[in-house]
Amino acid sequence: MMRPGGDRVGDDRTEAAVTDPAYNFAYLDEQTKRMIRRAILKGLAVPGYQVPFASREMPMPYGWGTGGVQVTAATLTPDDTLKVIDQGADDTTNAVSIRKFFQKTAGVAVTERTADATVIQTRHRIPEHPLTEDQILVYQVPIPEPLRFLEPRETETRKMHALQDYGLMHVKLYEDIAQNGAIAKSYAYPVKVSGRYVMDPSPIPKFDNPKLDMPAIQLFGAGREQRIYAVPPYTPVVSLDFEDFPFDPSKADHACDLCGADTSYLDEVIVDDAGGRMFVCSDTDFCGERRDAGHRGAMSPPDAAVQA
């Protein structure tokens, strides 16, 4: 039976937001949002623990950000300003597609400027611009279980987390060092959260791992795998390592060829048929702001403003 504030799509739409009238605010029905919200709260209360949630089929495919989209939908208010990035860029096709989805179904303001966003949904990167207490970072997660590639069974990995039995992970990392002289993990590098749960930070490059201890709330959504987890602000997040082989958040040993930044994560781009390379910031907003501020890199085009 229908209740007030009930669940028929379209019955609960807000009048304030300019949304497509066929959808409830932020697409999901209220009951689904409540279920996701309860899972988010559990995730924040037990940092790094993967909370099972009854993920819904979304109008985009599993593996394309449905977990992040559901978390964002349950978190947005009509007054938010949303930024969506994929690979650090606002204009990658899937980022564009997800941003359009929320413009259409939630009517929220959108931005490409990290500093202006209140909610940022991301795939594979943490923005270079440090986030603040007033921001929320939502990660899209493909495989939330950091132990999955060591032990495929959920029934087993769940026990390992319960017993805090992470020996298998340490053995794997040490075998890497024994065989290769280094930990052969360059992204989705496992971390320990608040001294308890080993967590997959999603496939961000390990360069981003040190930023995981930040003032913003971080929420992780894995739709197909039906898991939500979280890291509250100012929570210790330690990348797993060994005393004699400390964690190394390395990146390409270059500066950005467009803005000259030497602290940002770089994409390598093949620029000619002869295999010529250049390195550019993966965070397009960061790079653009620096260039607007007059910074230049080794391969910057001749600049009218500078010449004038």
């Binding site: 209740r3 007030p4 504030g5 609960d12 739409r13 807000t14 009048e15 304030a16 937001a17 409830n24 605010f25 932020a26 209220e30 009951q31 949002k33 409540r34 279920m35 919200r37 309860r38 899972a39 988010i40 709260l41 559990k42 924040l44 209360a45 037990v46 940092p47 623990y49 909370v51 099972p52 349950a74 978190t75 947005l76 208010t77 009509p78 207490e133 769940r158 026990k159 987390h161 319960a162 017993l163 608040s194 308890r196 749960y197 003032p215 709330i217 979280a230 890291v231 509250p232 602000p233 100012y234 929570t235």
Partner: protein
């Protein structure tokens, strides 16, 4: 304090927006133990205030069971929760949410603390307090930059709760329209 005239009133006027805003505040206070926010849009029967009512409307429905502790277990509140959320009312040991004054919640028997494999299968407390201030017990842990302070109704119970981490309960404290929270992950220091 104004209260719902009867069980059919006092709900959210604009459920998607009101619930979204209430959730953001609830999430923020749980992520930042010690922080106090104000909720709006709900008007439950006494003795619950706006904030406790808004939490119920935002988080509870037919899929969650609610326990009304002690003096909160009264017909007008039962009817209000039933009408606005459809949540089944249950004994303390089956509850997903338990709500009441702190002495009543503290006396409730068998509240769930989750299991080693599923620590999320725990009860969330909503305690209506006579006062709520960012003063008193010193808190550290996830969500807290240095140290936070919150006027907990007592410290020993919450210290014991935190000692069971990752098991344990998470608590929202409400006072009229104001809300704060204490997740099980927070360390409570004596003599704060």
């Amino acid at each position: 304090m104004p209260s719902a005239a009867h069980s059919f009133t006092g709900g959210f006027a604009d459920a998607p927006r009101d619930a979204a805003e209430a959730f953001r505040s609830a999430m923020t206070v749980l992520a930042r133990p010690g922080e106090i926010r104000t909720l709006h849009g709900a008007l439950p029967p006494a003795p619950l205030g706006v904030a406790a009512g808004a939490l119920l409307l935002t988080l509870c429905d037919a899929d969650t069971s609610v326990h009304l502790a002690g003096a909160c277990d009264r017909p007008d509140l039962r009817d209000w929760i039933g009408f606005h959320t459809g949540a089944p009312l249950v004994a303390a040991d089956q509850a997903d949410f338990a709500i009441g004054a702190w002495p009543d919640l503290r006396a409730a028997q068998g509240l769930r603390i989750g299991t080693a494999e599923y620590p999320d299968r725990s009860c969330t407390l909503i305690a209506e307090l006579p006062a709520l201030d960012a003063a008193g017990a010193a808190l550290t842990g996830p969500g807290i930059r240095d140290t936070a302070h919150l006027s907990l109704p007592e410290t020993a119970w919450f210290q014991a709760n935190a000692a069971r981490f990752p098991l344990g309960m998470d608590a929202f404290f409400t006072c009229g329209a104001r809300v704060a929270a204490l997740p099980r992950s927070t360390t409570i220091h004596n003599g704060g």
